[in-house]
Symmetry: C3
Subunit: 200 residues, 3 copies
């Protein structure tokens, strides 16, 4: 779980760094967006839960993963393509891992079912929201089809399975499988959510 | 007070959902903007005060009110008009209730007079700021005449009346009356604030 | 240190107020941007560290400094020019003082070296990020050359000198000197950071 969490942070940080390059920002912009995207979701979650200082500050490996990602983007921006199949799969895995970690931490802090689902979504998508707001794009969470929805369904799975007292690795594994699976399936099939039942 | 607080949350959430529809977002976007607008101000206030986990997570009725609002917008977006007289009045009431709740909570956490006024404004307008930043509009709080100003005056009334040890319902009722009344009056008369004394 | 901190808050608040005037906002917009810019960085730092209620609420002189700055901008917007030499120097001093204060507080809360550097940067640049997001400009922190970088180097100096147990005024003074000096030097010489090694 810990290794997956670090990998998720790294992949998210790479996506943030790439965004900085696309917006023609300098080396510092790459670092800022890499860190914000990599640990932003967890920071917002921990501020909301009152779990301070946040996990990303207590274990600096997360920040180091972001800095390595920023360095990789700085050195080899021309060779990294976020549309790559591997990058997309890693991103989907990161999404699932972050959703599972967010749901579990929310549950430890005694939140109710809706709060748990919301924290799963915030942890997995919050970093991307910060990144998109900083570069002034409409956040993917509200515009990109079936991205945040996969994390919400992952959170719902966590809430539904919680009463059965499954061993923790099994519970989290199932959440990751559902969330990552849905995201990968949506990428493959280009699933879209409906807008409104009757548009105004 | 509790019922008013829930009604305020619901109305704010509807305004967030409507904004999502206007920006042509999908069902998830409606939910995200409804939740962010409905409970965002209280979440920011509680993070600033260190009142974690925030009230909106400890009593899930607030989140449920947001989800019902999102559902209503999703089903009947073509029939809801935020320019309606009823919607505007409900919004003005929500503004007053949130300002009073923010001032009271800040006072319980031992903040000084300016801090109390600021928390009244943050609670009442913070959700709208998050909503506007997410859809990339200039936040109403800094551009819309006499919206945040009404909450600030409500906070000032709270601070001025505090030393008289009024019963809590009377104190909060007066704050709501002043803030909501000012907002309604401003809507009716289109009051504007001055820009600078001498424009540069 | 305390006086410098207040001066930094005041200068940052003036820069926020000026931005409001440029965007043609009203008196309330001036107050909001002055407060957000003046104390925003410290608020974000304190929320991340769990140092709640934040310092700016416990000692209201900081908020008063912001309100005086807003009043000054409101009265004399046509006479204040943020390009002035004095304003720029004061801004560079504020940057250094905030970076030093952020690094010290992070160290008191037990953060590791990367966390300390990050908190130095967040404290010094966070207010400007909030200001820029509210008026929908690309945040200076990721677009303006050598602004945040100076705070990061200031944070690194703090981390490197920490083991030597220097008296606190000496340690903080050195951090301020390096950060402010670098910023002033960058202004004078128009230093820029590289973008990527090989642009894509």
């Amino acid at each position: 779980m810990y290794a997956l969490d670090l990998i998720g942070t790294f992949v998210f940080a790479v996506s943030g760094g790439i965004r900085a390059v696309r917006h023609d920002l300098d080396a510092l912009g790459i670092v800022v967006l890499a860190v914000a995207t990599g640990v932003g979701g967890g920071l917002i979650r921990d501020m909301l839960l009152g779990a301070t200082p946040p996990g990303a500050f207590r274990d600096e490996l997360y920040l180091i993963a972001c800095l390595i990602a920023a360095g990789a983007v700085f050195i080899a921006a021309d060779r990294i393509n976020p549309e790559w199949h591997t990058m997309r799969i890693a991103d989907a895995i990161g999404l699932g891992v972050f959703a599972a970690a967010g749901a579990e931490k929310a549950s430890q802090f005694g939140l109710g079912p809706i709060g748990i689902v919301m924290m799963a979504a915030v942890t997995a998508t919050g970093g991307g929201v910060v990144r998109d707001v900083l570069v002034r794009e409409v956040p993917a969470v509200i515009s990109r089809d079936f991205y945040a929805t996969a994390t919400i369904i992952g959170g719902v799975v966590f809430v539904l399975l919680q009463p059965y007292n499954l061993p923790e690795p099994v519970l989290l594994g199932l959440v990751i499988a559902v969330c990552t699976g849905l995201r990968a399936f949506a990428l493959w099939r280009s699933i879209k959510l409906p807008r409104t039942l009757r548009a105004p």
